[in-house]
């Protein structure tokens, strides 16, 4: 097996719900290797997004350990976690979440500006990334001037801005029609072929099938882990 990028060991995540406690994850152990393309699937409420949030260092486990790129991230301070996300992880969300006040190229530049990449360099890289996702003609368009598929491609370019070693996507085709969804699936495949490690959470069977590895979850546990043959 190649280098391990994601390693979770007996991870639990509980949420308080009134006087009760919801056990969103109940002892998940998982390893994801560099260059993997993993789809996490399962019914709603099975803990897919919770697992993705823990891998993305935007949430902390109740118990267990989470390591990304060999670094323990479960005990990181907010500042450490923010810097870690900036340099190591790219996020793609179901609702794109582009800043409506910025153009496509500015949206892609935002994480680079945060990482203090010089202005000229980030403008050049943002343009290249938008060209990579097929939006070289839409650099200065605002999100409101782009279709859903185009917005999601901008979001993917933004996620790749700081050359992350891990790309996380939460239902990236959830708000797209079948045709546009297929374009995004194809783009993910191309990204993975080019060496990006991808983890997607999805209900979309086509997207899940496109992945090299499918992790099935139910009631906060991994119930199946299948590699593409």
């Amino acid at each position: 097996m190649s280098r391990v990028v994601v390693a979770l060991k007996d991870v639990k995540r509980d949420y308080p719900l009134g006087r009760e406690s919801v056990h969103a994850l109940q002892g998940v152990t998982l390893e994801i290797a560099a260059g993997d393309y993993v789809a996490i699937v399962g019914p709603s409420g099975c803990g897919k997004s919770t697992l993705l949030n823990l891998i993305g260092v935007i949430d902390k486990p109740t118990a267990g350990t989470v390591s990304i790129e060999g670094k323990r991230v479960d005990g990181m301070s907010d500042r450490e976690a923010t810097t870690f996300r900036l340099r190591t992880i790219g996020f793609v969300f179901q609702r794109f979440y582009l800043l409506p006040i910025l153009s496509a190229v500015e949206n892609v530049s935002l994480p680079m500006a945060e990482a203090r990449v010089p202005a000229a360099e980030r403008a050049e890289r943002a343009a290249k990334l938008l060209e990579y996702v097929g939006l070289s003609e839409r650099l200065n368009h605002r999100p409101s001037e782009l279709s859903g598929g185009e917005q999601q491609r901008v979001a993917i370019a933004r996620a790749l801005a700081n050359k992350p070693s891990l790309l996380l996507a939460d239902e990236p085709t959830g708000e797209l029609d079948a045709h546009t969804g297929a374009e995004i699936i194809s783009l993910f495949r191309r990204l993975n072929d080019d060496g990006t490690t991808i983890v997607v959470v999805t209900h979309d069977e086509e997207l899940a099938t496109a992945a090299r590895r499918q992790i099935h979850m139910r009631d906060g546990r991994i119930v199946g882990d299948a590699f593409e043959i």
């Binding site: 949430d59 996020f91 969300f93 979440y97 945060e114």
Partner: protein
């Protein structure tokens, strides 16, 4: 990037931003007016007293100048006593009285001052000549209007008038030599001045050689308080008032204005603070998902807070600038109304623009805008990212 993000965010909701700026501007204008009112009248009074360079005034014992009809006897003896002090440069005795002028069968009355034209500090000449000889009289616009007279006209001026018999006493023909503006004169008050000797020649003998007020000019660098104390010792039958004591008395009388200004100023500041807090809170709540995504992609908490605070500062600063203009315009308008208050010198300004006080007040407003933005911004940037995203997705 943060400034351009803040700017873009503000222009995204143009109407809301514009209304917020307008709201802050009104609060700023009111705050500025209250600051101008709190110290304006005092400063204006001080400037007025200082304008002719007379640092000490002498009034009959226990009174303020022209507060009553009382007067100081033995003018020449008082002058002689005062001249003994080397710190005293000039002495201007002023006698106050009323004059009456028959005009087309009706009587026109006016306050008049008997002065020494070489050292007088009560009026400034606008047109014509000063009261250089004993038969001259100068008048303000209001009296000229009531008399329907012009410079050069000869008037039958009397110091006594019996309205029942319509008879005049102490009459003398005087030539209107000039048009003047009385520095301490109240609005709408007809007033005139002539040489003190002229006025003395027209009043009853018992009122002669008396003065309602002495204005004393000191040598440069003299200690006005020391001279005031010296006068109080030398002339126990007069009240000597230095500018400092006069201002202290004015302060006492104006404490109501200051308290009112302080309360209204504090209310304005609080309203501005609440306005910015409300706007920033609404804006932050609306963008909770956006903020969570910024945090998720690696934007630091401090940078998110800075961006939101910059929005608050921009609104406060723009509001403060617009409020400055608005405040000055309203102050000028209100000043015109209040200056017409009976019995007050026309030259007194209720609202006086003092740059230091004004900038401090507006600076305080902008600072309150910053403070107003920090808490909601920090709270929003500190919310758990995953939870905020989940809530936003559900919403």
């Amino acid at each position: 990037m943060r400034i351009s993000l803040a700017w873009a965010s503000l222009i995204r909701h143009r109407s809301r931003t514009l209304l917020a700026v307008l709201g802050v501007a009104i609060a700023a204008a009111m705050l500025l007016d209250m600051v101008m009112l709190a110290s304006g009248m005092r400063e204006s009074f001080r400037e007025l007293l200082m304008s002719r360079g007379f640092e000490v005034r002498l009034a009959p014992k226990g009174t303020l100048p022209f507060d009553t009809d009382a007067s100081i006897p033995n003018v020449n003896a008082v002058i002689a006593t005062l001249r003994a002090n080397p710190d005293i440069e000039a002495i201007s005795p002023v006698m106050g009285a009323s004059i009456h002028v028959p005009v087309n069968g009706r009587n026109v009355s006016s306050a008049t001052l008997g002065i020494d034209p070489s050292v007088q500090g009560d009026y400034e000449l606008l047109e014509g000549a000063d009261v250089k000889d004993g038969d001259a009289l100068v008048a303000n616009d209001h009296l000229l209007g009531e008399l329907g007279a012009r410079i050069g006209d000869t008037l039958d001026v009397a110091t006594g008038y019996d309205p029942q018999t319509r008879s005049y006493t102490g009459q003398r023909k005087l030539v209107l030599s000039g048009r003047v503006r009385f520095i301490y004169g109240a609005a709408q008050q007809p007033a005139s001045a002539m040489q003190r000797e002229t006025l003395e020649s027209m009043v009853e003998p018992e009122r002669r050689n008396r003065a309602s007020l002495f204005m004393v000019r000191l040598q440069k660098g003299s200690d006005s308080e020391a001279v005031r104390s010296w006068i109080a010792e030398q002339l126990p039958n007069v009240t000597a008032i230095s500018i400092a004591t006069a201002i202290a008395q004015v302060d006492q009388r104006l404490s109501y204005f200051r308290q009112l200004a302080f309360i209204l100023g504090a209310v304005s500041l609080f309203v501005g603070f609440l306005l910015v807090t409300t706007l920033v809170t609404v804006s932050v709540n609306e963008r909770s998902g956006e903020i969570a995504v910024m945090r998720a992609i690696g934007v630091s908490r401090a940078h998110v807070v800075q961006q939101i605070v910059v929005e608050g500062v921009a609104i406060s600063a723009a509001g403060a600038l617009v409020g400055l203009g608005l405040g000055l315009v309203t102050a000028r308008y209100l000043n015109t109304i209040l200056s017409a208050f009976p019995g007050l010198p026309m030259a007194i300004d209720f609202f006086l623009f003092q740059p230091r006080a004004a900038w401090s007040a507006l600076g305080l407003l902008v600072a309150s805008g910053i403070a107003a933005g920090i808490y909601p911004a920090w709270r929003a940037a500190s919310l758990p990212i995953a939870e905020s995203l989940r809530r936003d997705a559900i919403a």
